[in-house]
């Protein structure tokens, strides 16, 4: 990186007329909604954390599904809503995370709870390598490219006999733990993963990197000529989203105790993620959480409808995009922000 020596830089700053010297600029980054909303969230997480003491195993298993949906929606939003990358191949990392857990905990005999983050890190590593391929494509070609990568990953994984080749495998690593405890542990891990992922994205978006990502999403060329290292920032997001999806995949498998290539590598996951983000609100942190809850409730409430379920989900998706193009969270018109990432300028002092 070339730096301009201080002298020249000082000269550049003198270019500003004298009025600029008078008083600074005051920048605010959060409002009362953030404090109230943050408080509500802390209480909600505390209640959820207490739940295993008072709820049935079925409820906990169900809610793990919700937590992984929140993680998946948040990751897709990070990619598309902040990084400007529309991927339909995130199932690559969901599958790799799930299989990674089975391989590390089952085949290698590592502690399953340690295996979950390790599997996710492996996803990040593979994503970093494949980004050099995927980033040669843009727009629609990038989207298709990610799907192709997901298919290749699936085809490679089903060559591995240790994880059951084409027929899948069971996760036996938990067999030493009493099911009641196992379910509660997995529940807490899933809740923890969801909280960490959402908080991580929030902190990322509040940081300099978040500023760069938003600029890249809005106008990549202008971002580049304003000094933003566009490719590096996108690669970081691509890798982080793979880690997050890998975590979700591992949590899903820890919850169901079974991994099956057809379902864990299913492109349906991408459709679900898109639905969650579009319903909730693209480019907001709150949106995917709301979208995940809506999807979860629909899934629960409409389970008896069989194939009609998809029709209902489709109609709802169309209705929301027509009536609330910015998603449900978009209805707040930016007046409400539980996770404020922007900058408001106040009067100078």
């Amino acid at each position: 990186m070339t730096r301009v020596e201080p002298a020249a830089r000082g000269a550049g700053q003198d270019a500003v007329p004298p009025s600029a010297g008078s008083g600074g600029v005051r920048v605010r980054r959060s409002g009362p909604a953030a404090w109230i909303g943050g408080g509500v969230l802390v209480v909600a997480v505390a209640v959820l954390a207490y739940l295993p003491y008072v709820s049935s195993r079925g409820t906990q298993i169900d809610l793990v599904g919700l937590f992984s949906l929140i993680v998946l929606g948040t990751m897709w939003n990070l990619l598309a809503g902040y990084g400007g990358m529309v991927s339909i191949g995130q199932q690559a990392w969901i599958g790799l995370g799930g299989y990674g857990l089975v391989y590390l905990a089952g085949t290698l005999g590592l502690d399953p709870f340690v295996s979950i983050p390790l599997a996710a890190l492996a996803c990040g590593l593979v994503a970093w390598a494949t980004s050099y391929l995927a980033f040669r494509l843009s727009g629609g070609y990038f989207a298709i490219g990610t799907w192709v990568i997901a298919e290749v990953v699936r085809l490679l994984v089903i060559q591995v006999d240790e994880v059951g080749a084409g027929s899948g495998a069971s996760l036996t690593a938990f067999s030493g733990i009493d099911p009641q405890y196992r379910i509660a542990y997995v529940y807490w891990v899933a809740l923890g993963v969801a909280v960490v992922v959402v908080l991580a994205v929030y902190l990322l978006m509040r940081s300099r990197i978040g500023l760069a990502l938003t600029a890249i999403r809005d106008e990549p060329t202008a971002a580049g000529s304003s000094g933003v290292p566009v490719t590096r920032a996108k690669r970081l997001v691509f890798v982080l989203a793979a880690v997050g999806c890998g975590l979700a995949g591992a949590v899903i498998v820890a919850n169901t105790l079974r991994v099956q290539p057809g379902s864990i590598f299913s492109v349906d996951y991408s459709a679900t993620m898109i639905f969650i983000v579009v319903i909730g609100g693209l480019g907001t942190i709150e949106g995917p959480i709301i979208g995940a809850v809506v999807y979860y409730l629909l899934q629960d409430g409409l389970a008896d409808l069989g194939n009609w379920y998809l029709v209902v989900v489709g109609v709802i998706a169309i209705a929301v995009t027509l009536l609330a193009p910015k998603g449900l969270w978009g209805l707040t018109r930016g007046r409400l922000s539980v996770f404020p990432t922007g900058y408001r300028v106040g009067r100078g002092t």
């Binding site: 990186m1 070339t2 600029a20 600074g24 202008a222 000529s225 933003v228 922007g342 900058y343 408001r344």
Partner: protein, 251 residues
């Protein structure tokens, strides 16, 4: 004679069969104010794209501050000190005006925290946008979008600013203020390359002028000499200057 800040040598650029730049060479001293004129489609904006790294030339080299930057990307050149405003504004539409400038100050200017906020604020004040700091950039009208282009370019703390038709759309009464802003820049030691169809504004600031036609340098030198050059008058200025009717065009 000091070493040139920017050196463009033998640059060529084609889009398919269309040759847009053909063996263009010129150089700019630190702090110099340099103007570019030429008819529509002459390749002026393309030349700026090659200088700031948005486009790679097919041939030739671009040197900035002694270093060959022909292969460097736009972000690296911006951090090295090349700021750029676009003829067709490219705002970060989902961000506020302040955030737009903050991106440039943080990444192009390399500032963090308060220093970044202050650099962004100063750039907005210079461009006359400080009062619109909290406005979403996507909702600005064209004139303010042009101002935002200028603000963002300045927020990167450039040593060389490339201005692409920032006066287009201004009323005659607004031009002097813009001319003063660019002059202030030059006084502060920033080199300026300014493309403008509003020739009288240009001539009020620049000390050298280049006329580009069909991707070739037709004339370069003292502004008045270039404008008086019969060839220049014929291909371009005949229509503009003779009628003393500055072309205020919008793309």
């Amino acid at each position: 004679m000091t070493a040139p800040l920017l050196e463009v040598a033998g640059v060529g650029k084609r889009f398919g069969r269309l040759t847009v730049l053909d063996d263009v060479s010129f150089s700019i001293a630190p702090g110099e104010a340099f103007g570019i004129v030429g008819p529509n489609g002459a390749g002026k904006s393309t030349l700026l794209n090659v200088v700031n790294g948005v486009l790679r030339p097919d041939g030739g080299t671009v040197r900035f501050d002694g270093a060959d930057v022909t292969r460097a990307d736009a972000a690296a050149r911006c951090r090295a000190g090349i700021g750029r405003s676009y003829q067709i504004p490219r705002p970060f539409g989902g961000m506020t005006v302040f955030e737009n400038a903050l991106v440039a100050a943080s990444f192009g200017g390399g500032h963090t925290g308060r220093a970044a906020a202050e650099a962004a604020h100063r750039a907005l004040e210079t461009a006359g946008l400080a009062d619109a700091a909290n406005t979403p950039a996507g909702s600005l009208r064209l004139l303010d979008r042009k101002r935002l282009e200028l603000a963002r370019a300045l927020a990167t703390d450039p040593r060389l600013v490339l201005l692409d038709e920032i006066a287009g759309g201004l009323t005659e009464a607004e031009v002097p203020a813009l001319v003063e802003t660019v002059r202030d820049l030059v006084r502060a030691g920033v080199a300026v390359v300014w493309i403008e169809h509003v020739v009288h504004a240009l001539v009020a600031v620049v000390t050298r002028l280049m006329c580009l036609t069909y991707g070739r340098v037709l004339a370069v030198g003292d502004p008045h000499a270039v404008l008086a050059d019969p060839q220049v008058v014929e291909v371009y200025l005949g229509s503009t200057i003779a009628g003393d009717d500055p072309v205020v065009e919008e793309t």
